[in-house]
């Protein structure tokens, strides 16, 4: 089978340019997708002439120097983010420790359930907690007045309220990050301390804590950065009290009349710069500070017998799940079946009218349909694109792969609302008439979810031994044949997971959609917010549940299809 000399030399010239050309094209395409809107955002922030003029009449830094007037908004943002981060990290640390290091009953099940708050989303949480604890009609405050109290006991429409709702959501993110560090710690390090005579407390303070500290710090920075760019909870809870953070202020400036684009852009650029710094710090902590606790070996984490403390620990876990998942979901379900949520419970107040309204309104129906369609398209295109990009970055050894990776992770440092703002400008002047159509939303979704997809798929790619592909090559398989017979089948679980995540994230997207959707291309999440503010609480609740239901049904179908595909491929 050895190639003859003439054949070998003739073929040698054709080697690589195919894949190389493709990767240069795709890498360049991704760069345009990511950087093009950012360029417009920066351009808009430097516009100091007529704020409505496109392109800007004059350039300068006045918009940035003028941000001093909005110092209170910056203060609000930092306050909300800081409080929520502290809360979320405490939740994450306590849960992480309880669930990975103690013999609390039902650990395995609880660990699975800890992902639930993430799927409840900040928007759902905000809607539910507004119903529970708004100062006027909130259940808790009504109960308080019913018992003879004056005014209200709690007010969710404050920085504390927003931080509370966000912390419940981010708590599960912090748990995943901190729990992973605690699990990957070699228990023999603690055992060594105990063998040398240190007690349990001393071991905890001198060994365990320092070892997990970088992980905790990393989680804190990550959550804080996410919080700075968060939008939906601040919108739902802050707007009624005129309490603004940077993202909601930006939204307000863009949607009011006359819009103040340059100021909003300057805010966006500043926020983006800060978040970029945070992500950079996060990466430094993660890469430099984890010592060697994560050695790649699989440890069985040492489980501590905490005796009768098990039950209080269990109660802590259940309490978190209650306030983060059960209570919000029950509240939304309850509200969706009510004529008037604020009224005292009674059979006469029960109704299906909200669902009937939601399903009969063309606007809602088409928004739901559009969202599902977009979810399907985003997930499918995203998985293909990101799968290919991941392969390029982690496998092809293409020069510049690191740069492509950095580019693709870039949207992570940009709040989706800020990104959408850049896209709005970018595509408004683009010669293709896609502004105000679903196409623009599709492009936006694919772009902002690049980091999410890349993280999911790269996790799987990196676990696949490179030799599995190399051995196919040594068997004589060409690039395409290897991809089809070895690489793709091995990646399948990762691709399916990425598809699901992209689908869910797209259907529930708010920050980018609210700016980019046109009157004829509405999607469901902004529609829910709209009906919350302008129609009724109950209708919004019904719509939120319909959205969740639609996602669930789509997922069940997808799972069934995927399982068939995986089984079929495995034989």
């Amino acid at each position: 089978m050895s190639p003859t000399p003439s054949e070998g030399i003739a073929r040698a010239r054709s080697w690589w340019p195919g894949p190389r050309l493709v990767s240069v094209l795709v890498g360049g395409g991704a760069a345009i997708l990511v950087l093009y809107p950012i360029a417009y955002l920066i351009q808009a922030s430097l516009s100091v002439g007529d704020p409505q003029a496109r392109p800007p009449e004059a350039y300068g830094f006045d918009n940035f120097t003028g941000l001093g007037r909005y110092a209170h908004i910056l203060g609000n943002t930092v306050q909300v983010a800081a409080v929520a981060t502290v809360l979320a990290v405490v939740v994450g640390f306590v849960m992480g420790w309880i669930l990975s290091r103690t013999n609390v009953p039902g650990r395995a099940a609880l660990e699975q359930l800890m992902a639930m708050p993430y799927y409840v989303t900040p928007l759902m949480g905000a809607l539910a907690w507004a119903i529970i604890a708004s100062p006027g009609s909130g259940f808790v405050n009504q109960l308080w007045r019913g018992m003879g109290g004056e005014g209200h006991v709690i007010d969710i429409n404050t920085s504390w309220g927003i931080a509370w709702v966000m912390a419940l959501f981010e708590g599960s993110v912090a748990f995943v990050m901190i729990g992973a560090v605690m699990k990957s710690m070699d228990p023999s390090m603690e055992e060594a301390s105990q063998v040398l005579g240190a007690g349990r407390t001393r071991t905890m303070l001198r060994i365990t804590l320092p070892l997990v500290l970088p992980g905790v710090l990393g989680a804190a920075v990550y959550v804080f950065a996410e919080m700075l760019g968060s939008f939906s909870a601040a919108l739902v809870l802050g707007l009624p009290a005129r309490f603004y953070v940077v993202t909601t202020a930006m939204y307000q400036m863009v949607s009011q009349y006359p819009p103040r684009f340059p100021t909003a852009a300057a805010m966006g650029v500043s926020l983006f710069a800060v978040m970029f710094g945070m992500v950079w710090i996060y990466r430094r902590i993660i890469s430099a500070g984890t010592y060697v606790t994560i050695t790649g070996k699989a440890f069985r984490p040492r489980v501590m017998d905490v005796g009768s403390l098990r039950w209080p620990f269990l109660a802590i876990c259940l309490a978190y799940l209650t306030v983060a998942v059960i209570l919000p979901v029950l509240t939304i379900v309850y509200a969706s079946f009510q004529h008037l949520t604020a009224a005292s419970p009674g059979l006469r107040n029960l109704t299906l009218a909200n669902y009937a309204t939601a399903l009969s309104l063309d606007a809602v129906r088409s928004a739901l349909w559009n969202s599902l369609l977009l979810g399907l398209a985003t997930a499918s295109i995203g998985v293909l694109l990101i799968g290919f990009l991941s392969w390029l970055i982690y496998r092809s050894r293409l020069p510049g792969a690191g740069v492509i990776e950095y580019l693709l992770m870039f949207p992570q440092a940009v709040p989706r609302l800020v990104f959408a703002f850049g896209m709005m400008w970018a595509w408004l002047v683009f010669p293709l008439p896609i502004y105000g159509t679903l196409w623009l939303l599709l492009i936006a979704y694919v772009t902002v979810f690049l980091p999410l997809g890349l993280r999911t798929i790269s996790g799987v790619i990196l676990q696949i031994d490179r030799a599995l592909e190399e051995s196919a090559q040594m068997c004589g398989a060409t690039w395409g044949y290897r991809l089809r017979t070895v690489t793709m089948p091995l990646l399948k679980p990762g691709l399916v997971a990425a598809w699901l995540l992209l689908f869910i994230a797209s259907v529930r997207e708010l920050g980018a959609s609210i700016l980019l959707m046109g009157p004829k291309s509405k999607v469901i999440t902004p529609a829910i917010v709209e009906s919350w503010f302008s129609t009724s609480t109950e209708l919004a609740a019904a719509m939120a549940l319909l959205q969740t239901l639609a996602v669930a049904v789509a997922l069940v179908i997808m799972f069934a299809v995927a399982r068939r595909a995986v089984q079929g491929g495995g034989e």
Binding site: P5, A467, L468, E470, M474, C475, G476, A477, T478
Partner: protein
């Protein structure tokens, strides 16, 4: 089956700016079994991967069967899949999503062989590695040794012109490794394919090769038959790496030399007769003597040269042999003896060695 020779000339491979292989040249004859031996980081695996086409060299030339598969000038770089080679990987690289049969059949299907031929050749290959009954088994449900055999069968089933082995036995436990070593040698003999084998394990290298190349820091230290490498190391690195040796330094005594022998006088005044196979020697020289080649006797041996007295300082029983630390000429000699009769610590003994096994080193 096809056999192809391999020629590697002035091969340089860099990882970024770091050179992993720094100008290596050697040839492998058609049907020959060559082993690249060396510690980790010596460039042996990189050299193998460059031959395979999985690493792109910075410069040099590689020819397989006479035709260039890589050359820096004129520029040639044939991709791995078109070099007609095959390789067994350290991690086996068995595809977990395929059955044993499909794993082995892969190379044949790539070559679009008719399915009847695929079936018969896969069966044949699986029988050869004693996995005939495992064809339908999912590859993820095999033990390490079985995966190793599947990897072997997959590598030779399509009659490659050259087989490359990248530390194929290093993930097996010691007992299995010893068994597989014998099996591999038997397989090599039956297939008669040109092979290049990479390992850091001396016994493996000695057992299965026609010739061994010892590498260090990206360059070749010595090329030779297993016997050459073992008994006639070229320098201290090879002597050290290729099993244990005693190093003896001394002053040349040309006045006493005869019959091609070299004579050294140690600082303590003992005379050591040895050989210097084609090596330049100065007035001072260093000799290597394998620990197993030294003999310990209670009675004076018959030999006229290389017989001295010493005292057993320490005895370490190691099962297959006993290691003695013997005080000799103000220093310690290490002697490994398989003799059943044990010497006691403190015993006065005669130490002797055949001059053939006392080899002058180049450094």
């Amino acid at each position: 089956m096809d056999q192809a020779s391999i020629e590697v000339r002035d091969l340089v491979v860099r990882y970024g700016a770091v050179p992993a292989v720094r100008g290596v040249s050697f040839t492998v004859g058609a049907g020959e079994h060559l082993t690249l031996l060396g510690p980790s980081g010596c460039g042996k695996t990189t050299t193998l991967r460059a031959i395979a086409g999985l690493e792109r060299p910075a410069s040099g030339e590689i020819r397989i069967g006479g035709s260039p598969v890589f050359s820096s000038s004129p520029r040639v770089n044939i991709p791995a899949e078109r070099r007609g080679l095959s390789m067994v990987f350290q991690s086996y690289a068995i595809w977990p999503h395929m059955s044993v049969f499909d794993n082995v059949a892969y190379g044949l299907r790539v070559r679009k062989r008719p399915e009847a031929e695929v079936t018969s050749r896969v069966r044949e290959a699986l029988d050869l590695v004693q996995l005939g009954d495992f064809a339908a088994r999912s590859a993820s449900k095999l033990s390490g040794g079985q995966q190793q055999r599947v990897a072997l069968a997959r590598a030779f089933v399509f009659s490659p012109s050259v087989l490359l082995f990248d530390e194929p036995l290093s993930n097996l436990d010691a007992k299995l490794r010893a068994e597989m070593r014998v099996e591999l040698k038997e397989l090599q003999r039956r297939l008669a394919i040109t092979s290049v084998y990479v390992t850091h394990d001396l016994e493996e290298a000695l057992a299965i090769s026609d010739r061994v190349i010892v590498m260090r820091d990206g360059v070749i230290e010595q090329v030779g038959t297993p016997g050459d490498i073992y008994d006639r190391p070229r320098n201290t690195f090879v002597a050290d790496f290729v099993g244990s040796a005693n190093l003896i330094r001394g002053r040349r005594r040309p006045d006493l030399e005869s019959a091609g022998l070299v004579v050294l006088e140690t600082p303590g005044g003992a005379l050591v007769h040895g050989t210097a196979p084609g090596r330049p020697t100065g007035s001072e020289a260093l000799m290597a003597v394998r620990t197993v080649r030294l003999r310990l006797d209670r009675a004076r041996p018959a030999a006229s040269v290389n017989a001295w007295t010493g005292r057993v300082r320490q005895r370490v029983f190691q099962g297959d042999f006993t290691q003695y630390h013997v005080d000799w000429e103000g220093r310690t000699l290490i002697v490994r003896s398989a003799a059943a009769e044990a010497l006691a610590e403190g015993d006065e003994v005669y130490v002797s060695v055949d001059p053939r096994y006392c080899v002058v080193l180049e450094d």
